[in-house]
Every structure is written in structure tokens, then in C-alpha cells.
Symmetry: C2
Subunit: 226 residues, 2 copies
Amino acid sequence: MNGQIDVIDVKSEILEDNGIEGDKVRAYMKEKGTYLVNLMSSPGSGKTTTLVNVIKALKDEFRIGIVEADVDSDVDARTVTEAGARAVQLHTGGSCHLDAIMAKEGLEKLDTGNLDLVIVENVGNLVCPAEFDIGANKRVVILSVPEGDDKPLKYPLMFSVADAVIINKMDTLPYFDFDMERFKKNLAEKNGRNVPVFPVSALSGEGMKAFTDWLTGEVHQTLHHS
Amino acid sequence: MNGQIDVIDVKSEILEDNGIEGDKVRAYMKEKGTYLVNLMSSPGSGKTTTLVNVIKALKDEFRIGIVEADVDSDVDARTVTEAGARAVQLHTGGSCHLDAIMAKEGLEKLDTGNLDLVIVENVGNLVCPAEFDIGANKRVVILSVPEGDDKPLKYPLMFSVADAVIINKMDTLPYFDFDMERFKKNLAEKNGRNVPVFPVSALSGEGMKAFTDWLTGEVHQTLHHS
């Protein structure tokens, strides 16, 4: 019974043409003078805790808005609001991602023109959100140590579109078989752009400064050169 | 800027009618005398390691087949084949779930008639796979401790369709803020069927016997009473 693996390619999903709508959001944000980040990860990787860190670190430097996308619930919007950001909660009604049209609804509601930096916390998912260009300046992917260093190989699209990767829960490294060099090798296999990798513990805040410094630089560079 | 949360229901996804196809798979499996499990979780929750435990524990009792569904790669199919099961690898070509038609392709390829128990390892995702009835006898959901005890609230459909929940990586409990009683309360809020919860460490094998005993009972009961 062993040794035999059949591989079947069952289906190629036909995606709607989301690129044009993404371009519209990009133009809209450029006009408003607002930098947009699309933050993606699995459920439970620490997107919200990371956001709380970013808000606390940068709220004096930038006017920050958050678009929370969830299948249901508004737990995360409450958390980031308490941290000091203006937040809009989007319910995707069962859908596993945000598309650009949904994102634009949230951005308009946020009153983007009065904000410097907006971060969209996408639905917790390593598959669908990767397929949709919501018009962000940068796509940031969080992977947490417990998920394993092989994830770029298993979710190649997500890691190929990432402009930066945060490795969260670094404080739990002793308890998991996660090898940072192996991760970087796997990432490089799917992403040839040599994107920055930020090892952090969102819980303790350790390592977050390198990420917020990078983000600050990106925001300044983009807003002042456009 | 604080205190204000706007909630927008952006979209209700229109699902294809997958129920009829699920019924067809159920009829097919009943005719073959094979029990079918749909195993679902986030990426990196330990589906494959759990499967290896199940195969090793039950391979003398049942003829076991595995359908591995992945966006890409065949890493998992190799792993379970080495553990002693016959495996088929399905590539979903970017799709975030299996539907019943895809599952049936895999089941036919497995030569299901010569198997007692088939487990489908679905795509790592807490959203989409919950929406599709692939005709399984039971839906088993794995949640790992690092993901957090709030996941039933954030991914309600997945936890409402679950017939059993495995809590994996119990050996890491000291390092995370995961409260089992809080999890059970959250689960009960979304799932009123009082489904069994199995705390395990798939890495050490601890707790797995309770799950494999439950599964053995379910398989015997179904195959001998149908």
C-alpha cells in the first residue's frame, strides 16, 4: 500500500479581475496622502497584538487608522481602538478575504484624508487574501514560530507577494522546531526579492522597533516622494 | 479619534450548492463500506502529525487511506505514506478548500473499496473548508494552543460544524495564555451539540489514545450498522 503518491490538480480557481479595483484604491490613497498596509497571517499569529504595538509606537508620529476584517465579531476593532487608533470593522459575511471594493468601503468610512497610515488587518488566512490586490503600498505577512518554518513551501503565493515578513512569538522558539535559517531559505525559494524579515515577540514588544522603524521609513519615503 | 467602531457587513458570499454533491459522496462511501473523516485546521496546527499518530495507532485495525489537499506541494502525502497509509495528493490550484467533487476524485483514485477508514486532510484554513460538505461521516477540527482559546468566536462556522475538536500542542500550554475552560465555553457558544474535545500533544503522542479510541468506536458503529 505504501510508496505511491498520486497527485491530482483538481481545479484552478478563476479569480475575478481585482487588479483594476486595486489600482483605484491606490489612486484614492495617493490623492488622500495616506499610506496603506495590507497585514495578513493565519488565525492566531498575532496580527492584532502586533497592531497594538505599532499603534503605541507610532501614534505620536502618524495619524493611524485600522480596518479590521473579520468573518464575524468585532473583538479586534475594540482592542485596537483602546490602543489609540481609529478603527472600522468590516464583516466579510463568511468570505475568506477582503477584495479591493470591500477595502475601499472601509477606507472611505475611516475618513482616510485625515490619516497618514492605514493598516488593514485582513481575515486570518494564508490562502485567499494573497490573491487579492487591495491597493496597499506594502503587504506584510506575519508567521508565528508555532506554525513552522515550512509555511512558505505550503502557502507559496502568500509568501511570494509579501513585501516584509514578521516572525512572531520568538519567545516560544525554545519549544518549537522552528529554524530561522531554514525559514529564510524557504522564503527565498518562493520570494526572490530579498524582503526584510523581522523576528519579534508582540507580547513582550521585543524586536518590534526594527519593524516600526522600517515602516516609518517606508511611510515617509512614499508620502514625501509622491 | 477613539471609542468609535463602525461595523460594515460588506458581503455575503454566495456558495454553490455543494450539498447535493456531498450526499453523492456519502452514498458512494456507504456503498464501499468506508468511513470518511474531514480533518480541518489552520496552517501549522498539526494535522499531518496527528494523522501520523492515527495511522500508527490504527493501521492494524483498519485499512487506512489519506487524501491530502494542498494548495501546492506534496510534503504531507510523503509523510503519511511513510507512516503506513495509502495516500493521494490533491492540488487545489490556489483554492482554499476542497469541495465534494474534488474530494470524490481523490476518493476514487484511492481505491476506497479496499479501505475501512479514509481521512481527508483539508487545506489549512479556518474559513473556507467549513462551508463545504464533502460527504464525510465526521468533521474533526484541530486547534493548537498557540492559536488561542478565542478562535470559536472568530471562526464561528468552523467550530459550529465540528463533530469533534482536538486541542493540539498541549505540551506548550505553560507558554501561552490558553485557558481550556474558556475555550470550552467559547466552543459551546457556537456549537450546542456538546461535541467531544481531545487535548493532545501530537508530537509526544500524549492524549492521542482518547481520540483514536473515539474514532475506532465511531468507525465500528457506522460500518456495522449501515
